[in-house]
Symmetry: C2
Subunit: 328 residues, 2 copies
Amino acid sequence: MSNRPLFIDGLQYNNWSEEIFQQIHQGGLSAIHVTICYNEDFQETVQNMIDWNRYFQKYPDLIFLGRNAEDVRRAQLDGRTAIFFGFQNCSPIEDNIGLVEILHSLGARFMQLTYNNQSLLGTGCYETNDSGITRMGRQVIKEMNRVGLVVDMSHSAERSTLEAIEISERPIAITHANPTFWHPALRNKSDDVIRSLGANGGMLGFSIYPHHLKNKSDCTLQSFCEMIADTADMIGIEHLGIGSDLCQNQPDSVVEWMRNGTWSNEVDFGEGSSSFSGFPEQPHWFKDNRDFSNIEAGLKEKGFSDKDIKAVLGQNWLNFFDSSFEPL
Amino acid sequence: MSNRPLFIDGLQYNNWSEEIFQQIHQGGLSAIHVTICYNEDFQETVQNMIDWNRYFQKYPDLIFLGRNAEDVRRAQLDGRTAIFFGFQNCSPIEDNIGLVEILHSLGARFMQLTYNNQSLLGTGCYETNDSGITRMGRQVIKEMNRVGLVVDMSHSAERSTLEAIEISERPIAITHANPTFWHPALRNKSDDVIRSLGANGGMLGFSIYPHHLKNKSDCTLQSFCEMIADTADMIGIEHLGIGSDLCQNQPDSVVEWMRNGTWSNEVDFGEGSSSFSGFPEQPHWFKDNRDFSNIEAGLKEKGFSDKDIKAVLGQNWLNFFDSSFEPL
């Protein structure tokens, strides 16, 4: 048995480098779900996978491609980090449902049905009108269920999210968002969504992206841990994990590209504003992957049991991975 | 143990249907290397994989995607057929060496460096000038060796083929061709190539495509088996298998597309001619997959031992698969 903790992050989008891979190692992360697509089509997404393949070849002592839960256990034993691919948009499947299985074969394990806008599959959280899951969306959820690609509704609108939870035959995830009862951001999730997610076996990854936090960059660790306690009271600790949404070392041009892709002639500021359009500053207690131990300490301070701390920081995601990634 | 024979075909390109999958089953084939690309680029090749995924879903009792030699043993036990993907051209990797690993992840196990023409990697057998393996070709062979994608030189020119055998650190294959000492077709292989192939651990799959046969469609089974015996005398039985090049139920428009793709304004007739441009008729002793037993009988008649018959009809390919498909 390894003495390493079981830390899993349900979403990161860093400007990856050897420095960050070393920090992951120092922080003791056994698995990270990394975003490899915001706006890319199929072939552009494949190119992002090729870029990751080069990282895997270059840093084999630090990282490798994760395909299933067993890879997380192997990573924990080896002192390495299993990297799981995910998309924050359905753009990689274009209009071709056959690409769901192809992308799963290439390692994809999470796919959001929408980013902020309406997609071919459902409605994003910044649209005025939410028409729910589309005809193609129903077919694609079924196919994702079949091959073992997790439905992620982090950036989707309320009705679409509730419908996806209902339609999906396997539990879904909201990999990176917080409850609106704590901080009413458009990207955070209503009590209805959170209750339905939990009732259907899903997972919520708590975000540490400042726009999702009460008092943003000034959010305290105490407040963050209280939110976790309150959500546990609401739906049970077993549905909760971390999905930090860490976007380390990214230039502001990247968040502009994430929000705008090629879909608009006017600049969309997403969660920001014209006067504050860049990446916000991380709270002092979560700057990079070495700070997982701060959350651990915060949860202990708040009175969580050792078992519940382990559950939130890794074991719950691992249980979810165990039942989510293999074909039906 | 299964009572089923171990029959493996090193190349087929049929107009696939339930009827043909049933014939494969009746013929007792445990593995077939199928061509899924002649002229397609990356995304078109992925679409061909999607079409095969639909076959695998529709006929799970007959076929499944083969990824390694163990799958052949499983197929033999189950009474099913493992389908191994291959390309007769390097067009699926376009000009992107990173696509080699991607396509291997998706199941590709053989790739010709050229079809009939010059490619980015080497020279095809119908070019007047053969300049050998290119700069990119050397890099791609190394990458194919690394990931476990077999170099296939069936349609390549003499010098390029000899160089590929030398450059490759893993044994290569000529999946479907015959010796020119028996029938001097441009697609068949010289003594030099065959000797070098054998000396470097490679495999030759004997073709039953009439243009590669002495007397074409009228070729006798006896003559075909004599050729196998003579080649075994030359390089040893362990390097020999069948690569029938069966193109069952294909309309003649397909062979025109195979030869011409989108590269020419004038019609190229390949091994055919303006007066005989379509698919030639198969010899009476090999019409479809149920006729493997005829070859077995022909080899017995010619005096091959049971062990050598088993080697040529499947065991040699299986040994080659054992050492070829896993990453280094």
